[in-house]
């Protein structure tokens, strides 16, 4: 049965993190990722009846988000991966667990609280302000490589922390 607008809105909200993750693989700035998601929602609501079921809608949304994000990156003259790689990544996003989203966000909030002020500052500049690592390096007076390494370590630390908490809560 074709979907109605209410179901389309609800399904896209429920899968918001997955759709945004597809865009976030391509573009760094969260505002641009937000824009991509917003455009996908608006486009989906223009003709909700074209989606046969929630799976159809999600596949379309992931594809639409990927194409829009690549367009954004190219318009900014950014290097991007092969489209075939993004396609595989987008298809694998469907396998990310959707039912653990609330638990993951809660776990992340707790894990963020345990970070050092310096790590939090780097994360805020990277994810909230959308700065490139070069710009962050200038601000904090460190080398670009050091910033890359610090961010990567912090992300890995957070990923493990979230995973541990999720597993403990199961």
């Amino acid at each position: 049965m074709p979907l109605d607008a209410a179901t389309v809105g609800r399904e896209l909200l429920a899968n918001r993190f997955r759709v945004m993750a597809v865009a976030a693989v391509v573009v760094r700035e969260h505002d641009l990722v937000d824009d991509v998601f917003q455009q996908v929602v608006v486009q989906a609501l223009e003709d909700p009846a074209r989606y046969a079921d929630p799976t159809h809608l999600l596949r379309w949304a992931l594809r639409a988000a990927r194409h829009r994000a690549i367009d954004v990156a190219r318009s900014r003259k950014r290097l991007v991966l092969d489209d075939s790689v993004y396609e595989v990544l987008a298809s694998e996003v469907e396998e990310l667990p959707a039912d653990e989203q609330v638990a993951r966000v809660k776990a992340l909030r707790e894990c963020l609280a345990g970070l050092s002020p310096e790590a939090k500052r780097l994360l805020a500049m990277r994810h909230e302000d959308g700065l490139a690592c070069g710009a962050i390096a200038q601000k904090v007076g460190r080398s670009v490589d050091a910033v890359y390494q610090s961010l990567s370590r912090t992300h890995a630390q957070l990923r493990k922390c979230v995973q541990r908490r999720i597993e403990r809560g199961r």
């Binding site: 109605d4 607008a5 209410a6 389309v8 809105g9 609800r10 896209l12 909200l13 993190f17 997955r18 993750a21 597809v22 976030a24 693989v25 573009v27 760094r28 969260h30 505002d31 990722v33 937000d34 824009d35 917003q38 929602v41 608006v42 609501l45 003259k77 290097l79 991966l81 092969d82 790689v85 595989v88 990544l89 694998e92 996003v93 990310l96 993951r104 966000v105 992340l108 963020l112 609280a113 345990g114 002020p117 994360l123 805020a124 990277r126 994810h127 909230e128 490139a132 690592c133 070069g134 490589d145 890359y148 390494q149 961010l151 990567s152 370590r153 992300h155 890995a156 957070l158 990923r159």
Partner: protein, 424 residues
Amino acid sequence: MADEGEPAVTECDPTFERLLDGDLSPAELAALNAALAADPVLRRAFLDRASLGVAIAEQLKLAAHVEPVRPRSTVRRVVPWVGIAAAVFVAVFLFLPRAEAVAEVVAVEGEVWRAGASGEERCPAGTKLRSGETLRTSGPTAGAALLYPDGTRVALGGDTAVTVSSPGFKLLQVTRGDVSADVSPQPPGRPMRVETPDAVVEVVGTQLSVSAASGGKQTDVGVSHGEVRVTDRARQDTITVKAGEAATVSPAARPKPRIKSVVPPTWAVDPATGWQTGTLVRMPGPTGEEITAARAEPVWKKERGTAFHQVMCHNAWVDGLFAIGPTTVLHCDILTEQPGFVQAFVVARNAVPDPSCWAQVHLMDGIAKNLSAGDWHTLHLPLKDFKLTRPWTPFPNPCAYLVFFDTQVPDIGLTVGRVWVTAE
């Protein structure tokens, strides 16, 4: 993974950050393409990193949305949210049937947030909560009070989160923290349910308090009037708890009712097991003998973009720590490694938990600011010299349920040894 000779890419490699910055050389990009095409583990790591980035940004944005901690560009940040909000509005508010208001938030203190379909936002008094919405208090001194249409009142203590709904009966899900409820008589066969991760409490009409430890390891239930049925979720045991009784639901033992003892006028913290926040250390105490003490640990305050350093005792919302009288004195042994500012807090509720006035906070500022650093000091702090942070009429019979010590940034190495209370 990558072929021999190509740069290897591992989970913690900064390659992904460099890709997003457009900082890879064509050769590195080609190597990354090949590695990603060949290695599902690496693809999963990339996806996890991307999901994590989205979630981090959302969390940071949420924290700064209401009370920005630093100047920000409003245009870029507001427009996408307005757009998404518009799209969500179309979906949620125009096409979905609107949920009925279940209860009204009639009073708030400190940081109180409401979370619903459109995200989390600051919750002022007067807000009507709809079915499925969550009310959260942030910080040990925050609080809120809910009023249901039938007159049932629920009070939330600090660091508490509840979700309200009405699937044919009143359902209050307590994720963590402390609530007290004065429940009006409920329709036959449809008792109000208060659920925690450990327990289900069914209430026909009574006055009770419930405390759910963070992480779902223990739930305490106390009853002031009437009686409730308490079910241990794990064991599927149900017991009845009557007025003047309390019960604890935890993995340690089967729940059974116990008589709530009168809250004593004196108290002392157990230095080894009495602290919920603080790192235990062994060190020479005020007399030179080795003692167990609690060193303050950082507690992140996202709304302020900074961390306090804190030592906090276990919460005794249901049973109480000590009764507060005109001669109550809080004594403590404290040491700071550097000169600095320390506050002492005593959080109290009415002897009978009252949902219309759930807690009062006694605060004494600067208890360590003029003390020499590096030495132990024994302080004697009369409760009458503390100030009340809420301009309420003092409770007739206040009963302390939480004591903590807080410092400001930076960490000055606050360490707390003995803490005890006397009524002289």
